[in-house]
């Protein structure tokens, strides 16, 4: 693995993003607008806003980064630049980590804005430290990025890549404990939700919200998400082939 090449990839991805101010605006503004909408919907009903806010803060970075990354890497695959890079002294992990680094940075800004707005202005009640919410959001965004990288290998067009969102992300949203608490799910669904990464992200957010000090469960949740990130990075690397038919 080469740090110089990884940084070059991350820098390049951010430079490309800079050329697309509309996407940047959507990435940063939309989560804030949605949180404000949620606050307005439950006008004065603090308990419900408190219950729904943290799971949603876990969902935005995951979903958005999944979409952005799967389309970006699909473009890289279809434009021939990926083949060119892989014929150069470029490690597969350098490329993947470079992408994760760039979108992780974007996610950090996104999380700062969304968490800051939700807790600071909209008055979400939080027992734990606010930075912990941000930390979960960023790791969650990196998770979305690596899942997008992996999935882009199975899409031939941007249409297909976008369709992986309802296929792979929405089930996680349904089962993560937002609609029905995970303990109340039917046995099979509970078992399924236990192998979906978003469940852990939502649980981590809820831990921060409910307890003043960071619990062991919070750190276990984070460790599980990081485990998913590493596993998906490995799978993603396996889809990058230097030789193709």
């Amino acid at each position: 693995m080469s740090v110089a090449i990884t940084v070059a990839v991350a820098r390049r991805v951010l430079l490309q993003l800079r050329r697309d101010p509309r996407t940047i605006a959507l990435l940063l503004v939309v989560p804030c607008v949605l949180m404000a909408l949620l606050w307005w919907m439950y006008d004065g009903d603090e308990a419900t806003f408190d219950a729904l806010g943290p799971p949603l803060l876990a969902m935005f970075p995951f979903t958005v980064m999944f979409l952005v990354t799967s389309v970006t890497t699909l473009r890289e695959r279809s434009s021939g630049t990926l083949e060119r890079l892989l014929s150069m002294p470029m490690g597969k992990i350098d490329l993947l980590v470079g992408y994760a680094l760039a979108f992780g940075l974007v996610a950090l800004v996104q999380a700062l804005l969304a968490v800051g707005l939700t807790v600071g202005l909209l008055g979400l009640n939080l027992a734990g430290p606010i930075w912990a919410l941000g930390l979960v959001a960023v790791i969650d965004a990196v998770l979305g990025t690596v899942l997008g990288l992996f999935v882009s290998a199975f899409a031939e067009t941007e249409f297909q890549a976008v369709q992986f969102m309802p296929a792979l992300v929405l089930p996680q949203v349904l089962l993560c404990g937002l609609f029905v608490s995970r303990d109340a799910l039917p046995g099979v669904l509970h078992a399924v939700s236990a192998i979906l990464p978003l469940s852990y992200a939502v649980d981590a957010m809820q831990q921060v919200q409910n307890s003043a000090s960071l619990t062991a469960d919070f750190w276990i949740d984070l460790a599980v998400i990081v485990g998913f990130v590493v596993a998906l990075l490995g799978l993603g690397a396996a889809t990058l082939r230097r030789r193709t038919a």
């Binding site: 070059a8 490309q16 230097r242 030789r243 193709t244």
Partner: protein, 237 residues
């Protein structure tokens, strides 16, 4: 001395035998032209030399190593037919990125830009350039590392005659400086710029010789007629 040795190469794509059984050797420090109609397997052969093509059999050796070896990734450059550059980066940003991946510093970017005559457009967004300019940016990327072998897939397609002449001048300078160039084209009149020609048809080589020798052998005055005569001979055989 030979830069590339190919023996018994067989490539199957989508169930179809694109290259059944091909032998060739490409000499060092020369421009070798790979000519033939579209769809005859030129790109597949070039990809096999670069080592990005899955092959069904045979052996491709480049600079005494197996094609695609990690140690060749700085010594062999490949320009694909479609310009493989980022359209949402400027010309200079593109080259700086690839230079960073290749671990190059200093004048590499400036030199490559100058060689392809894109110095004045270095700040332009690559996606806004004309097709010919974009393919020159792509060529500049291939030139960055001053590679020993350059594999160029139709580098002059869509370029105006003046620029085409310039680029062939550049290729000649690179070969004179010791580089081995393998250039594909389906424009026969470009063949006269090459030291050696490989004529390809249906995944097979039907000739491997110097341009003059080919014309003498076929009793023709230009490469196009030579190619057509060779195709007829090939069909009759």
């Amino acid at each position: 001395m030979m830069s590339v040795q190919i023996s018994g190469l067989r490539v199957v794509r989508g169930g179809r035998e694109v290259i059944p059984d091909l032998d060739a050797a490409i000499p060092s420090g020369q421009i070798t032209g790979l000519l033939g109609p579209s769809g005859c397997g030129k790109t597949t052969l070039l990809r096999a030399i670069v080592g990005v093509q899955v092959i069904a059999g045979g052996l491709v050796t480049v600079l005494e190593e197996a094609a695609g070896s990690a140690s060749l990734r700085r010594r062999v450059a490949y320009q694909t037919q479609a310009p493989s550059v980022y359209s949402d980066l400027s010309v200079r940003e593109n080259l700086e990125f690839f230079a960073a991946v290749l671990g190059l510093a200093g004048h590499a970017v400036d030199d490559a830009l100058e060689t392809v005559g894109m110095t004045e457009s270095e700040q332009a967004l690559t996606g806004r350039l004309s097709g010919g300019q974009r393919s020159r940016v792509s060529l500049a990327v291939a030139l960055l590392a001053k590679p020993e072998i350059m594999v160029l897939d139709e580098p002059t397609v869509g370029l105006d005659p003046v620029l085409r002449k310039q680029l062939w001048g550049t290729f000649r300078e690179l070969a004179d400086a010791g580089a081995t160039l393998i250039v594909s084209s389906h424009v026969m009149d470009e063949a006269m710029h090459c030291d050696r020609l490989l004529l390809m048809r249906d995944g097979r080589l039907i000739a491997d010789d110097e341009p003059d020798a080919l014309m003498r052998r076929t009793n023709t005055a230009d490469i196009e007629s030579a190619f057509l005569t060779l195709v007829d001979d090939d069909a009759a055989a």
